[in-house]
Symmetry: C2
Subunit: 734 residues, 2 copies
Amino acid sequence: MSSRATFPVSWQLARLPSPAATPAPADWIPATVPGAVQLDWARVQSLPDLHFGQNVRAYNGLEDFWWLYRAAIPAVKRAADERVFLAGDGLDYHAEFRAGDRVLLEHTGVCTPFELDVTGLAPGTPLEILIHPAPKREGAPPDRSQAAHVTKPVVSYGWDWHPRLIPLGLCHDTRFEKRPAAHIRHIDFRYVLADDFSSARITVAVETSMPSGITWRLREPGGRVVLESSESVATLREPQLWWTHDHGEPALYTLEVSLDAPGADAATRRVGFRRVRLVMHEGAWSHPAGFPKSRSLPPVTVELNGRRIFARGTNFVCPDIFHGRVDAATYEPLLALARDAHFNLLRCWGGTATPKESFFEQCDELGLLVWQEFPLACNAYPDDDAYLDGLDRESRAIIRRVRQHPCLALWCGGNELFNSWSRMDDQSLALRLLNRNCLDLDPLTPFIPTAPLEGMGHGDYRFLDPDGRDIFQIFRSAACTAYSEFGCPGLAPVEYLKTFIPAEELWPPRPCTSWETHHAFGAWSSDNALWINTRASEHYFGESTSLEQHVARGEWLQSEGVKSVFEEARRQSPRCSMALNWCFNEPWPTAANNSIVNYPARPKPAYYAARAACRPTLASARIPKFQWERGECFSAEIWVLNDSPVAQPGGELIVALECDGLVIELLRWRIPDLPPQQTVVGPSVRIKLQNTQDGEFTLMLRVTGHEDWDSSYRLSLRPAMDEIASVGARALNH
Amino acid sequence: MSSRATFPVSWQLARLPSPAATPAPADWIPATVPGAVQLDWARVQSLPDLHFGQNVRAYNGLEDFWWLYRAAIPAVKRAADERVFLAGDGLDYHAEFRAGDRVLLEHTGVCTPFELDVTGLAPGTPLEILIHPAPKREGAPPDRSQAAHVTKPVVSYGWDWHPRLIPLGLCHDTRFEKRPAAHIRHIDFRYVLADDFSSARITVAVETSMPSGITWRLREPGGRVVLESSESVATLREPQLWWTHDHGEPALYTLEVSLDAPGADAATRRVGFRRVRLVMHEGAWSHPAGFPKSRSLPPVTVELNGRRIFARGTNFVCPDIFHGRVDAATYEPLLALARDAHFNLLRCWGGTATPKESFFEQCDELGLLVWQEFPLACNAYPDDDAYLDGLDRESRAIIRRVRQHPCLALWCGGNELFNSWSRMDDQSLALRLLNRNCLDLDPLTPFIPTAPLEGMGHGDYRFLDPDGRDIFQIFRSAACTAYSEFGCPGLAPVEYLKTFIPAEELWPPRPCTSWETHHAFGAWSSDNALWINTRASEHYFGESTSLEQHVARGEWLQSEGVKSVFEEARRQSPRCSMALNWCFNEPWPTAANNSIVNYPARPKPAYYAARAACRPTLASARIPKFQWERGECFSAEIWVLNDSPVAQPGGELIVALECDGLVIELLRWRIPDLPPQQTVVGPSVRIKLQNTQDGEFTLMLRVTGHEDWDSSYRLSLRPAMDEIASVGARALNH
């Protein structure tokens, strides 16, 4: 087996005013790798808790220094032909590796691996890594446009849910490693499934440090070896397919590769077999009609192993400000929540770094598809050679790594690049280059240049739009093929707010306080209180009188809002085949955000609402609007949404309205037996709303024999201008 | 100078029932190269004139045979190190080159060059080229779908203006050529213009048969040498830019390349400097508005040397059924007509073969931009390796050749591939491959995967749509960014019809006669008489009583129709920046067609109408509809359309209406001075139409001092149901 071994070293760090500066002995501080220079600096300088109040300001400007890491070459007991390497999966962002006066390597990129053969350096020799200041495009204002010429994750330059804090440093495990002379440099596992999935033609390509015989074995999920070969190509009969958790089992095989020399290198990896495509939705070809005729909408329906699926999911963003302190344990609770929410697809948004390997490994295991974007978002990335060369390297590294994972659903060039706030277009060379690299390196995985494309929709991100339409109304009148971003804001829970908003600032929330630092005020748009949602809250309920009340109102709006869009998108199937709320998580504690999970992995009430709306099968109501007047005739269409791949018997659906503690039954309806993946349109209910005390009412859908399909909707009721006391209730089939 | 020399040979041809068959001596017939096997066969068999009546049927099935060319290796007097090659620019479609029992070369593709070193073959040795039967996809019906797996031009399989006749054979000059040992294999002239066009950084890459010193010289249009270099890279200061004829001079330089050995190879080529981009139109970023938000429309405005231009042009199709008999003389009259029509851009539609070099050379000289498509049209070209490999080869050959020409404006994957009749989409590997190849080989020329894209429009192709809207109305309510295909049908002139429709069939035209063979009946759609346009003609004028009358009516409709769309598209600038009528020419005599030039180069009346509408500057009227009722209030908006790059003084515009020989002046308007490329909105005219005799009236726009801006519109007038005799005339400014 492998004689690889890793030798731990002590890393030190010094902050330099200029690249040529020599640190004094006292300048060196201990460094944690992986990590970030800011974290090491904060530890030694005892900077206050980054997450609290407005402390993040104390980190301003650290990214404009030069930072020098160093470690002594470890003493490695090795055979004559063994080599020692310094290797890492990338670093943030640009660095020179030096020993004495010699520059051994220059490296750029968070996701481009590096390795340096240090066998020739005597043990104890200081190896230095000089990290350059964060790139900032000359002349650009201090916002995301400073990163419009680099592949460095742009979110760090400031976003509506991410403070401006630009990490630098060794953000990946960076290891001194002894390797046999003949060692594995890269394993490439590829396959083509037969059209009927009855076999997989497998290619195992192993890059080695020197010519070497190779043996590889494939173990099926149960552990039995099903293939063993010394050839690069072999055929597996009747592969168990990898499915998302809701459509089957995410079957994973184990690939074992070893070089044929005694004591030579070996490696193991989990692999899976799936075919994923983006296909046209049913009916797509009949539009546009008439002349002059444009094109039909681009395909966005995910077809997994020949089955069209509705993609219910979310936008996954960086789980921490510092990529360097993200590891498997960071992802675990978040991905467990995503899986439990019945999500089957996560969009890894282009503003952040491509997740680490453990993210994809966990998605492979959990049966979660991943839409992976390249590191471009909301900027006009230029056609110039310097940028394109960097993007070429970084994107190839990302593709080579991530294409191995069965969870990969599609590649995307980046976020919202064909919109006015980015101003890239179909001719942008960066996107043509990404299309090319994906074709060259991973031709069987779909590629889209950006989202949204024609037919897809991003937004709305508000419960109430400036025209006075609520989120129910906005999406009911939309007809997108995919809602790849939508959401509405919600506040963090009170007890959580108290952990990062100073007590004296807690009530009332105001701009220019920690509330603004934590994004409640001053995010996008002219509405300064956009995310704290003052306008919608006051529109429906009047001014809040306490923090508890304002938070509860915000949670109510966010929960019903997010739920309504997921369900409406599913009702619009098959034209629509995707709903991904913006956004799932957040990189630090936000006071108000479209997220449904607070940092690091605390579900907000809206999380549970999304989870309810994403059950494979559920009773659902299409409700015209959120707020009603007493005396108004309330109506709702009853549906059964069903994405389940297996047929299911129906049941009796009871629709009732609860108000002031009273329950009024509106309808009993016999749900027919459900064929796989077929949504059923039911009757409508109507009732004239009566006088109430509570200012709210709840529409309840209860399914006898399928309690797991039950749904309920909590709606607002306000006095009519002309108060009407009459009560009426009837149900209509249509 | 070059010691290249070409040795003419006599080609012979034999038709074979099977690939292994051996022709008897009597089976050999003389062959013309370049040409087509069908033409040689017809000559010997005295097949009747292909163009007349239904004679084309006599050619049915010839494409299903194997055809064997042969020529004796010529006796070549050569120096010891000189080589003899058989070379050609491609052949139609798949062939094996043999000498005796040996297969020397296999070749596929109309546009992929081949060369074969035959130096070792003794003079007199028969060199054979076995042409395989035309590819026909198994199981496909006898239509274009038979060619959905090959790069062979698909139009030959039958179209609404092209008979089903599938050429085979040596369609390019195929020459035995003596070359020096060191000879030039390919010259690649590339350049990057400085942002301010003050210099061009030139790269001359010469592929040679063996390592060799190279000298190149560049002569400016006047003949003076402005650069001479032995390096591959050099900088030209203040290059004269290549412009379309309407925006400047199509300046061409001459590149001379020679190898440095005495008596070595040399070559000369015309080159030019231009920067072409597709850019977003003014206002594009403000759409779409609201949420959920899709993307902004893709860019389609041509920017030439930093100047946005309105692309007025046409769809250029194959000028002959047989690519093999197309040469410079075929293109010359057609391109002269295109230039004289004030066109500045030709779209070379993907259904036909990429034109020969002489086409691009002439476009370079005439200042005509070319939109070049790859050979894909109206089919679902598959993702399979065999097709993709062939497309990869053929497309690379096309790009390597055509990218050299300054006339090249953009690459396009093919025709209407994202529409229901094709069913390819953004994920189709063929289109991703073409994007890649264009990026790799010609990154600075725009690429679009197909037309129409979102925002662009194809059609209408009728004067009157099934909803009763005429072409004026259809386009007035459209809002496309580019009308890359539009048109309406017109008949061929009577005297021309008589040359290919038998006298006894001439009147009345009927289906299942030569009229149908020549496309008047039975083209697309459920309207059997679509192109002969019976429905529109009878709708406006009632039944025709003679051929002359029917043709004249059709010519009237086509002329006013084509003119109205060109002018309307220009009025819609800057949102719209392109109008290309479908189509310019035709490959054989059609009885009725959207073409405006009959085969081979006979302008129809609609050609002159298009020419009038494409003048850089003209007075124009936006007229609500074609046919009016007596007593109705006629109105028209007056505009001055101006694409001229230079400012021009205005003039006095007189608008008048002519009816029954009487001229009624409606308006005099002082046109303001015209800034470059700025269209001016003028007043509207209105008049109540009075009783007339002629059934028509003409709106005349006369510009004092700019008679070349005059326009007139011939419109139909029919009696009102309730005949009104009152007359009124007034003109309103607004």
